[in-house]
Symmetry: C2
Subunit: 154 residues, 2 copies
């Protein structure tokens, strides 16, 4: 954990930005909640627990800065808020999400599912792909199980 913080610190310094206490607190919250997709408000509330004097605008600015530096990804599930995910180091940059229409849970898939599809798109539409975003909407296994056991009950 400290290693990742250090590397992020170096990334900031490389662009002449400093890892201020507020920025460090924000990054720590992101590191400690890596599995979640936190909104700016979520991050703000969590940072406040440790550094109560921080302001919402600072959190917004920090998240924006981290997005620019590609330390985090700003993602949009269409629910009206932006969410911020720490980017996995070294990993390719995929955005594959499974959004459950029953319970709202969002799971993330780390595999590259689109290698072949990208080739088709690049060739057929002459579109030079830099990034992609793929979201499936459906019913997660948890909700499927829940439904199944409810049916057994009745």
């Amino acid at each position: 954990m400290e290693n990742r913080l250090d590397r992020i610190k170096k990334q900031l310094h490389a662009q002449k930005y400093k890892l201020t206490p507020q920025r460090e607190a924000t990054v720590r919250v992101l590191l400690e909640n890596e599995a979640d997709h936190l909104s700016a408000e979520d991050v703000y509330l969590l940072v406040k627990e440790k550094a109560p004097e921080i302001g919402l605008a600072t959190v917004y600015r920090t998240l924006e800065l981290l997005t620019e530096l590609k330390v985090v990804d700003k993602i949009n599930f269409g629910d009206g808020v932006s969410r911020y995910d720490l980017r996995r180091e070294g990993a390719e940059h995929f955005h594959h999400h499974l959004v459950c229409i029953e319970c709202g849970a969002v799971d993330e898939i780390q595999e590259d599912l689109l290698e072949d599809v990208e080739k088709i798109v690049e060739e057929r539409w002459r579109f030079k792909i830099k990034d992609h975003r793929l979201t499936f909407h459906g019913i997660c296994h948890r909700c499927q199980d829940k439904k199944a056991s409810e049916q057994k009950q009745a």
Copy 2:
């Protein structure tokens, strides 16, 4: 065009909604601008040209109603506004977009690119897919050409 309007009218009636003049004006704007991805504000301004007495809230309510009835798709490019696309009749419901990071153009692909991918996801993650959304970010062929000819100049 009139045919499609009639069919939309029937869809409304089937759910006990009426095709009021305001709603008709809104649908006409969508029919006449099918290629674009209009925001609520865009639709509002276009409808205003023909029916100046209409209010923004009515346009919002109409677009929401049409979305519920699955006459239009409400889509989100992450640019802070929702956009509304008339759904192609009979067509399967794919959302494949090519977003150009140079000029901002959004092209739409009508093919089903994900048949195989969906199978993998359904099996491996036990996720019952109902819909998906796939967006590629990159450089469109127009901007590629523009760049190429600029290089020739220099």
